[in-house]
């Protein structure tokens, strides 16, 4: 069993639904985006292409971040999810240096969005994140535990995100990768990401 995600770049329309539904699910503080959307332009007028790339933790099979963690706070679950135990994290940020994709964030102090103080929502969802520790996407483990897809997958209005077992050759994600030539980001780094992209 190895959880993985497939993002279909042909379907993605850069609506930011993933970035914001992740924020709503996880109550991440300002400046922290477990899911992000990148935009890139290629070519010259008029043969230009706008490329949209939604990114998140790749839950690598060979995660350099886990390797460098001195305390064992960063770990990999049996089903392939890379997560952090905040109680063990000492905030040394070695993992942030090690992650070649920039998908880890340091929660340095309690933060909220309005200068006036945290909203009741943030008191519920943001305040539960410990400070002085590193935080990241964990494929919405809480949702998986109750049989739901990750928030960004379930919400994507263009149905551009798929989630499933990469070890099962018959799963939707495995078949999509095979049929459509799915590729991970920076395979040359040897991290073996569990997030794949389908060509636009």
């Amino acid at each position: 069993m190895r959880w993985g995600m497939v993002i279909d770049l042909k379907r993605c329309i850069a609506c930011y639904g993933c970035q914001l539904s992740c924020k709503a699910e996880n109550g991440t503080p300002p400046g922290v985006f477990f899911a992000r959307l990148l935009k890139h332009e290629e070519g010259q007028f008029p043969t230009v292409r706008q490329l949209f790339l939604p990114v998140l933790c790749n839950h690598c099979e060979e995660p350099p971040c886990v390797e460098v963690c001195p305390t064992g706070a960063s770990f990999k679950t049996e089903d392939g999810i890379v997560d952090i135990d905040p109680d063990m994290c000492v905030g040394c940020r070695s993992c942030m240096m090690a992650c070649p994709y920039g998908n880890r964030y340091f929660n340095d102090k309690p933060q909220h969005y309005f200068p006036d103080g945290p909203t009741p929502y943030e008191e519920r969802r943001t305040a539960r994140h410990q400070t002085d520790v590193v935080m990241k996407c964990n494929f919405c483990r809480d949702r998986l535990a109750v049989g739901k897809e990750p928030a960004c997958v379930a919400n994507c209005p263009a149905v551009a995100r798929y989630f499933g077992d990469l070890d099962d050759p018959n799963s939707e994600v495995s078949r999509l990768i095979k049929d459509r030539g799915g590729f991970p980001l920076h395979p040359e780094l040897g991290t073996k990401p569990s997030v794949y992209y389908l060509p636009a």
Partner: protein, 867 residues
């Protein structure tokens, strides 16, 4: 760490997912609000609903932060500074509701006794739910003046007029399920904006995955164009010229069009005399066609469509008559691709290729079976919206684009350009909500249902205006710039308007930002003797109010019809009919009150409850036992309950909907692809414009109002904007604005999650200029620049150099650039494009009143760069 353990440690009293509706844009997607112990901890899409199908855009999921914004209004406020102006502090004092309502009622009573028309009621288009309550109050009060501020004026006057006239709906969309080739002109349906925004994102992605070819005609390559198979950059505002040139190729060079469709479903065969009018049958008064079999002119209803001549010249009782189609064919002679290239900058060869592809893909004459029903199959669609219609040439731009559909019969059949749900057999349980387009005496289509009281066709009789917006004179107009324009007083004088607006009741519209330059709008606003604003925030506009009332937000309010009429935000195409509601998830904060209740309360104080009940009966079409009686003081809950039970039976009232959220039933192919089943024709030749112009001119000319006749010709043409005629040296760019996927109008700029994402986006808050042109002008990416219009109005912002924009274009996203303190997150973010828009006669379409939304501008480096 999980939410559940987090909650249980506090002792859960309440944990519920409540079905309701989003209101972060007018799409009104169905949502589930997760409420735990009186706190909404998540908003997700409601998978039970056809509207959004359980998935939301970034705005929808961010609604929590709009709801919990500490800057929301919570108490009624009264202005103590009598002076009103952009720099005037209203010096608010908090007052109680009793006092506020007493004062409002006293002012409104005085106005109503004097002349009810002096009240202007205005609402934002963002909250669709405000339509019926505001409409009923307006009707009950007795004023004809209901305005949608910038909402309609910018995006609707052309789009809804044309969609209504030609497709019996508010908007048009490709039949995503079956379309193979869609060409978009300044539209983004399916790419994060527009009606049924949520649902269309999936439908468009499905179409893309299926292989639908999508050509996007747009000065900028973002959203729709970014996902297109082909981006066709063009000069801003010239869409109509491109469409006309394509029509030229189809009709005159390729000679390919759907003759049987034109004969049976349009007025193409109607005979036109030298006076540009129908040649009517003397006995019946009906328009005639040339019956090829009989060799005679006969009323259209007496002739088989296949025998109707589309070409030729006929002697009808001494009059030289020609079918409308023959006139169109002749009219298109000048619209060669070479002519089109000069205007649009799109190479003639490309125009020819696009036209060829369009007719080839149309599969004229083919049929397909859908759910057992054999139907015409035309898998092509030409789609237009805000971008192409936001110009002086609003009407003809859209008309020319829709002609592409009409020429190949791609109108409301399988795979074609569809109106959003123009025909419904009704809810099977009660037969209610049934409507169908039907013909007038001339055989032309009247929409089966509409958003306002007045349908786009038949066209009303122009008269000496009784409305300050002049729409009863400009009968092809919807929303008007003349409530706020610089020259409004002069126009009112010329037209002998018998009264002047004195009071404004505003719901949520921020017209200081949404219409045009703020100085012009501010001047108009300051002149109102009394203004009430019901709002969520103290917007720039609300700062002009005398009394401010704090409204409830989308998680606190009630609406029995969040997505009705179906022509507005229910996705088109096959699928399900779906009726969701909006219900309160959280109580009001402080003294917030629902605007619907406030209007009912005001009607009681004004003694117009009986009129209000009657207006609700009319607006909701309440029948039988559900009709509201006399001046009985119904609560808004009771009114919603009556509407639901009236439509869906006594078991399905408000309580049922609160529990279930939505009611659905399947669509039938005969409903979605209704065109072959309705005996209606649509006008490819707008004969009715001829008498409209004559009547308007008869009223206007003696009063010194000169109407340009070229806007009232029955066949579309390219008529330039002022920007296209500007010769001023240094004014090299056509400035335009576009919808950003992260923002709805000026409203969501205050949402800190959306604002944060927009700050990181390369386009949301910047001024997009073509990289090559920009560098030629000495600009570097990120430099602060001034953008100045011909009149010297200017706005500043950071430039973003990009290859993804036409070399002459200058693109600004959203309705940004707030300056007021009432929305501190929004303040200073992005660029206030509308400052570049002049608000006067010269910049308003002389036929449908659409404001000209492009401006020729000069770009200069701001001072700080020079250092």
């Amino acid at each position: 760490m999980t939410d559940l353990s987090d909650v249980s440690s506090r002792g859960v009293r309440d944990d519920k997912w409540i079905p309701t509706s989003c209101a972060l844009c007018y799409g009104s997607c169905s949502i589930l609000a997760h409420r735990v112990d009186d706190v909404v901890v998540k908003i997700e899409g409601n998978p039970d609903s056809a509207i959004g199908k359980g998935r939301l855009c970034g705005k929808g999921v961010s609604g929590i932060m709009t709801h919990y914004d500490p800057n929301r209004l919570t108490v009624p406020l009264r202005r103590t500074n009598p002076k009103k102006g952009l720099d005037e502090d209203p010096r608010w004092e908090e007052i109680g509701w009793e006092e506020a309502l007493d004062e409002i009622a006293a002012q409104l009573r005085r106005i109503r006794e004097d002349d009810p028309r002096k009240l202007i009621v205005q609402r934002t288009t963002t909250v669709t739910a405000s339509r019926v309550p505001m409409l009923t109050f307006t009707a009950a009060f007795g004023t004809p003046n209901l305005s949608m501020a910038g909402g309609g004026l910018h995006c609707g006057n052309g789009a809804h007029l044309l969609s209504g006239l030609m497709h019996a709906s508010w908007s048009i969309v490709p039949d995503f399920e079956h379309c193979n080739y869609a060409i978009y002109f300044g539209a983004s349906k399916g790419h994060g904006a527009g009606h049924a925004s949520g649902s269309n994102m999936k439908l468009a992605a499905d179409a893309r995955a299926r292989g639908m070819k999508m050509v996007v005609v747009d000065p900028m390559c973002n959203f729709a164009a970014a996902k297109a198979t082909e981006w066709v950059p063009l000069r801003v505002g010239t869409d109509g010229a491109l469409a006309l040139a394509m029509c030229h190729v189809m009709v005159r060079e390729l000679g390919v069009y759907d003759a049987p469709y034109l004969q049976a479903k349009t007025n193409a065969p109607y005979l036109i005399g030298p006076d540009k009018r129908y040649v009517r049958d003397a006995a019946t008064g009906k328009p005639t066609v040339w019956d090829l079999k009989a060799g005679a002119a006969r009323p259209f209803g007496d002739v088989d469509a296949a025998d109707m001549a589309l070409d030729g010249e006929y002697d009808v009782g001494g009059v030289c008559a020609r079918p409308a189609f023959a006139l169109l064919r002749e009219h298109l002679a000048k619209h060669t691709p070479e002519w089109g290239e000069k205007i649009t900058t799109v190479p003639a060869a490309n125009i020819r290729r696009l036209a060829r592809e369009f007719v080839q893909e149309a599969r004229i004459g083919s049929t397909i079976v859908v759910d057992g029903v054999t139907l015409p199959y035309r898998p092509v669609a030409a789609i237009a919206f805000r971008g192409s219609q936001g110009h002086m040439n609003s009407v003809y731009n859209f008309f020319a684009i829709d002609l592409l559909n009409q020429l190949v019969g791609a109108a409301d059949v399988v795979g074609a350009c569809l109106g959003f749900n123009p025909a419904s057999n009704g809810y099977p349980g009660t037969g209610r909500l049934a409507y169908m387009p039907y013909p007038d005496d001339d055989g032309l289509m009247i929409a089966g249902t509409w958003m306002g009281y007045h349908k786009p066709y038949p066209v009303a009789e122009p008269r000496l205006p009784q409305k300050p917006g002049l729409q009863d004179f400009f009968v092809m107009g919807l929303n008007s710039p003349y409530l706020d324009s610089d020259d409004r007083e002069a126009l009112w004088d010329k037209f002998e308007l018998p009264y002047r607006p004195e009071a404004m009741l505003n719901f949520g519209a921020n017209l200081l930002m949404s219409i045009g330059n703020r100085e012009s709008v501010a001047r108009g606003l300051a002149e109102y003797k009394f203004m009430v604003s019901i709002d969520l925030f103290e917007t720039e506009t609300t700062r002009f109010a005398d009394i401010v009332l704090p409204d409830c937000g989308h998680l606190q309010t009630l609406d029995s019809r969040s997505n009705y009429p179906f022509i507005f935000s229910l996705p088109g195409g096959m699928g399900e009919w779906c009726w969701p509601i909006r219900q309160p998830v959280l109580p009001p904060e402080g003294q917030q009150r629902r605007f619907q209740d406030v209007l009912l309360e005001l009607s009681d104080r004004l003694g117009i409850r009986a009129d209000m009940n009657a207006a609700y009966n009319a607006a909701m079409n309440l029948e039988g036992p559900y009709r509201l009686q006399g001046d009985h003081r119904y609560s808004y809950e009771e009114i919603c309950d009556a509407e639901l039970k009236c439509n869906f039976g006594p078991e399905r009232g408000l309580e049922w909907f609160k529990e279930h959220g939505v009611l659905k039933w399947p669509k039938k192919p005969e409903e979605v692809y209704w065109r072959p089943f309705a005996d209606v024709r649509v006008p490819i030749y707008w004969e009715f414009l001829v008498p409209v112009f004559e009547k308007m001119d008869a009223i206007g000319a003696p009063r010194g109002i000169k109407l340009p006749p070229e806007y009232y010709e029955p066949l579309p043409d390219f008529l330039p904007c002022l920007s296209h005629c500007c010769q001023k040296p240094g004014f090299d760019f056509y400035a335009f604005y576009y919808r950003d996927v992260l923002h709805t109008n000026s409203f969501t700029l205050e949402n800190p999650w959306l604002d944060e994402a927009a700050q990181l986006d390369p386009f949301s808050y910047t001024i997009a200029i073509n990289a090559t042109t920009g560098r030629k002008n000495g600009l570097t990416d990120g430099a602060r620049i001034w953008v100045e219009n011909e009149k010297g109005r200017k706005v500043a912002g950071r430039v973003h150099l990009t290859e993804a924009i036409h070399p002459e274009g200058l693109g600004v996203a959203a309705c940004a650039g707030h300056w007021g303190d009432g929305m501190p997150i929004a303040k200073g973010k992005g660029v206030f494009f509308n400052e570049l828009l002049e608000l006067d006669w010269d910049h308003s379409s002389p036929i449908n009143l659409n404001l000209d939304l492009c401006a020729k501008v000069r770009v200069t480096l701001a001072e700080e760069n020079a250092k």
